[in-house]
Symmetry: D2
Subunit: 434 residues, 4 copies
């Protein structure tokens, strides 16, 4: 059996790289993955999967951090220009991106595989030292870049979908492949869970390229301490004034935002575990000689436990309120994303560990039982939902040399991890649904 | 004589409002006044003025704060779409906007009149409470608005040009009408002076709607204490990192900029006179969950004397250097504009005072000898140059009720000051060149 | 007549230096001038002045910024140890320092002369380069130093008192010599005015060594634009916590105070005139490894007009409220001093100008009509009160080379200005009460 | 045997409380424990211990954070007034406090017991709600308080010393009891190690009341992840100036310190583990109306690993350098303390665990194998030194209800943990040296 799986996977290795580079060149950030979703959905249909998209996979009421109507329409137009199927895109109107494909193989448990597909709001570096640039698949979309490897995840997902159809006879149960939008900003998992995407799931498997596994050949079998996180935007509104003639007549929103940014970062560390705070974006002001009447900050807090994240978020609200008070400006705080902490199951860990050990690609000395996430992944939202109904889950990491840290505009990973990634998912399905 | 001047001016009162509203609807900020210049230049030619534009009025080497080539081209295209003469626009390539028209009326001194024509980088308010919106002449250009009355100045300038041609026989000498670009950011006067625009000028007259004269009927005959000012941009460059996984790997440019902004505003007040500091714009960051590797601030300092402005600028450089050091980021400081302090001449003040007193429009109790600018105006650059060669100058203010302070997006002025404005300039020319 | 005055003054020149050095060596800050007051009061009585002190010259209810009972008692004890009369000190219990002496010379108007006598809260520099150290009269009192020349003012006042008794026959009216405590912190004039010290005064004259007159031989005849000012203390109270084990359990008062300090200095400059803000003292924290639960800041705002000072103070209150909010700490704001803006009278200016011109000591080219205070002096409080009842006043400055700016711990002035100071006051009295 | 140990310990239970209250009433912070050391040393001698103190237990060159000569002398004087032996105090001149007592019981290994004896720089709360106040043993020393339980540790140490002399016949080896000064500020262990205090030690045992064990009856058998820490002071030196007259002439050290404090707290969290930063004290300024020329901050950084602490300290140095640069002030950074991370040995843990399980006092369900320190303790310095030479160690925690967190001025612990504390140490010695 081993040989046949490896043979099939090896047969699509080239295709995996093509998929990945195509996704990399056309990155789409959360709720705008119209082209990515369209391509995946078409392929899944072609392969015989039963597919669901639009409101069947996304609960509109649970969506946070959705771009404006106008922006969404521009993205729908762009996606079609870049090869998306106009009919499918229309089904995603409102930003309801993402797709779920199901392969029913008789009686048996339901196993979900989850792949995230969105990109980051980053402008990719454009120079010869950067592999994607040199090879001609650097991002062509403005302020969008696959700087976290989700292009690889989507590619692996498509590979798994294809390989499984060829091994259908060895599977007893249902495979549900979830292509999730909006992982960045932890916005996608919640609305998918609320739309019922993990209902009835007995086992769930997800993974990430790189992160805590930064050597090719490394493999991490489970992940704990997903950081709970809260994402929010704050707009400050002051009063403009002539900066030379009557500065005292203004209410300075830029300084309120700057004071907020500094003091947010000064929220105390937490004695019970890891915490994070980042003001990732600050945009303020109109012109050089106008007291700035407007400012926007994009913020996220994180905590090793949901309690710590709550402490950070509550403290942050005080800082923002105080900063606005200081400068006599108004503010509006809008929640943009939220996810919980999470822990993998030991049982699932043991299964994938044995599979990894059986594969030549992975270095036996670099197969690690468990790591701490030390970051947030809204996969924890799905896994926690599955665990609540009695199911099991784990989250793995595929080792890969990286050219720069995740979310850096020089980020790139080693494509040699794609095929083994497919193989590991496939073997896990065969093992669990046997 | 009085009657004839008034009669002619009254005859064009409606046209003045039309000009003003057309300029208001098509605001163009510094170095992008392609349409405004084109319309004025065409009109001047039509009226028989000898005109100069492009490199004849702007010294390219002295230009600061010029938009990128790409932006300039977009603006040239836009200007033509909005009615500019493509040939004239081509002469302004590189942002060499502004135009000078000369009317030679025989032997005699040279008198310059200066009108500034650029708009602000502000998004005009779009609601029924705002007169320009209600009357359909609100700005249609993105992030551009006439929020300082230069649309009125340009309109008055055109009116003066027309009226003078009808009174040519009463003039002995040369009238040079200067339509200056880029007053906001005090970028325009320097390059015009360096191009020789005020060479040979014996008298110079300029003015402003509103500012220190905020009642219709008020008139201020001269202005002192123009604030010297320095404009500069700073870009901070750090290192991006995953905000959850490895925040310590980043170098945070946003926090460096925020710390700079706060501490710049904390530069001490100066015991010798007024000072100003404004960080008008701060843009930083890539995405919410990325340690921000980039930041831009747009700053200006001002001082009642050039020494005070220098103190502010030198102190600012220390703050910026320290902020960069704090966060281990690099920075680049670029000078974007600079102008000097200035004082009007008492003689010129007396002349315009008598003229104002002779006009019915102005309230006798509201004719004021002198005010402090309490702001910057690069007219001081031109006036100082004229004074250095033995000429005289003054800067007047035409009273007008305002709906909001200058540079506020609700700004509007009372159009009834336009015709009296024209009359005052015309009578000054007739008086001085008689 | 001229000769006799000069002769008498010259006769006490050595004594003036002795007085000054004695006061300098025993500096006493606001409301603790027990020794200084005692010495002056004794001398006045000796000279035959009718004296008032304690509650007759200080309205207890109007006192601000009074040290604690305990501190006052320590100071009373110290004063006695340093030579004060215990009985007189007892009359000043509660910090009611300062003394008024009256010399009645028959019918005529009342002329007040005002001398301030308090020192600063500064530790004087102790090295050979410093004249008072070298000459052995450096401060022996902890954290107290005459760094503003009030030791000289007190010495001049005593000299004037002595000289006038010898010229009594030439005076028609009443001379009231006011020795005011607590000018630093602008705390003394208000309670004196409220106690009736300037009631019935027709003319008031006060002055300062140095300040805007920093050349020996210079003389400034009047002062305008006394900065209105407000002094206040803020204590922040948070919650302590172990900085290693549970930093999140603390509420950080130190950071609230630091944020307040920075953002207070960022209150906008005022377009209508000069403003000031200073956080002069910040003391916070308990131990290095404890989240700081306590902080104190000492703040002052100033404005060219009382309106500007009010703007500063109101803005400051917002900043403080916001800073406390940011860090979840409580605060208490206590008013410590307040004085108004003020303007000298032209008539008085003319009188002292003529006197100065008649004196050899002053350089004719350096006698200046008028200066802007550009600082605060609660003399303005007294002068404004006199003007309100129809009286006249001016505030003069005696030129003196300084070794460092006022309030610097290297400050020293040129003692050669003391005798001419006495002469000018005496001649002014002779001129006005003639 | 069990019974005899318990019987002896119970016999001194009252004495333990007396010792503790006496130490509590006379708290002495790092390098000023003259009285505490004197009392302990006298008692040890009385009990027949061979004692060492002064330069035999403290390496002068390794001392950090030592008070000034003058302060030390005041403390020596105070200590004698409060009952210290003048001769012993003289041996500690220079702050060489702390004492080591050795009990040699024939051949066998050397076992060290370590007790820290210093207090915190905190002013103890003085009201009826506070037990030590109510019972009359509240601190009588200014700005000193036992707010971390070291009074209890010293008391337990004395108890252990006494009990062991009665069980000498059951011991085979040497017991070395180390009474360490300056644990707060992690200043004491280093100089003791450098003086050879743990040379030849085979086993080391230390412990803490409370901390992670906040229920009476609880017991923690070993501690990991001592936070590495660095303590340092920074003084900023600027230039004073008159805050009203010439604020621009000053260089503001207070604002430099405030900017440093805020931005130090904004140093990023570390992805590899816990970090801490605290500016525990900030003192700046001279007087309200003087631009502050001086500032002092007391800072500490911590890290779960020494690498993380190094990252924090290096980042902190940049922030301080940048803050000084911003305000044009000079600064001086002085290292005041430094200790490493550390881990207990599993073997030692097992031994104390069995002993704890054998004692009635401890709740079987509350005996915990291991905790993370989540704080710093320079015991890690001693333990690491012992481990380097092949020895073993552990650090235990004695459960106690607390009235407030450690370092809070309301802190108090439950004295019922004292006798069981003595018993546990004694039994450990009997077990290991048997």
């Amino acid at each position: 059996m081993t040989d046949r799986v490896k043979e099939i996977v090896d047969g699509i290795a080239g295709k995996l790289v093509q998929y990945r580079r195509d996704f990399h060149k056309h990155p789409e950030s959360g709720w705008t993955e119209f082209r990515t979703t369209s391509i995946i959905a078409s392929k899944l249909k072609e392969l015989g999967y039963e597919i669901k998209l639009g409101k069947d996979v996304i609960c509109k009421e649970s969506m946070m951090g959705v771009p404006s109507e106008q922006d969404l329409e521009l993205h729908m137009k762009r996606a079609v220009e870049q090869g998306a199927d106009p009919e499918l895109v229309q089904m995603m109107k409102g930003g309801l991106t993402g797709v779920v494909g199901e392969l029913k193989c008789g009686e048996g448990p339901v196993m979900a595989l989850r792949f995230d597909i969105d990109s980051n709001d980053i402008s990719e570096v454009q120079d010869e030292s950067h592999f994607p640039y040199r090879e001609g698949f650097v991002s062509i979309n403005q302020n969008a870049m696959h700087a976290c490897g989700h292009d690889g995840h989507a590619s692996i997902g498509l590979g798994v979908a294809e390989v499984l159809t060829k091994l259908k006879d060895q599977i007893k149960g249902t495979v549900r492949i979830i292509f999730q939008p909006g992982e960045e900003g932890v916005r996608g998992a919640g609305p998918m869970v609320d739309a019922g995407v993990v209902d009835g799931v007995d086992f769930i498997l997800g993974g990430h390229i790189g992160f805590r596994a930064t050597k090719t050949g490394q493999f991490i079998c489970s992940t704990d301490k997903f950081l709970a996180t809260t994402k929010f935007d704050v707009t400050f509104t002051g009063v403009p004034a002539h900066a030379g003639g009557a500065p005292e007549a203004g209410k300075n929103a830029l300084l309120a935002a700057a004071a907020a940014a500094l003091n947010l970062h000064a929220i105390p560390r937490h004695g019970e575990g890891a915490s994070r705070i980042t003001v990732g974006v600050l945009n303020a002001g109109q012109g050089r000689n106008v007291i700035p009447p407007n400012a926007l900050i994009k913020v996220e807090t994180r905590g090793e436990t949901s309690e710590i994240d709550d402490f950070m978020f509550e403290s942050a609200k005080n800082v923002i309120d105080g900063a606005a008070k200081m400068y006599g400006v108004k503010y509006d705080l809008k929640l943009m994303g939220k996810t919980k902490s999470g822990e993998s199951d030991a049982e699932m860990m043991e299964i994938v560990k044995k599979i990894a050990e059986s594969m030549d690609f992975f270095d036996k000395n670099e197969i690690i039982d468990k790591t701490n996430m030390g970051g947030s992944e809204d996969y924890s939202h799905m896994m926690t939902a599955v665990q609540k109904s009695g199911g099991k889950g784990t989250f793995v990491m595929f080792g890969s040399e990286l050219t720069a840290g995740h979310h850096d505009y020089h980020f790139n990973f080693d494509e040699s991890c794609l095929a083994p990634g497919v193989e590991l998912y496939v073997r896990s399905v065969l093992n669990i649904l046997s």
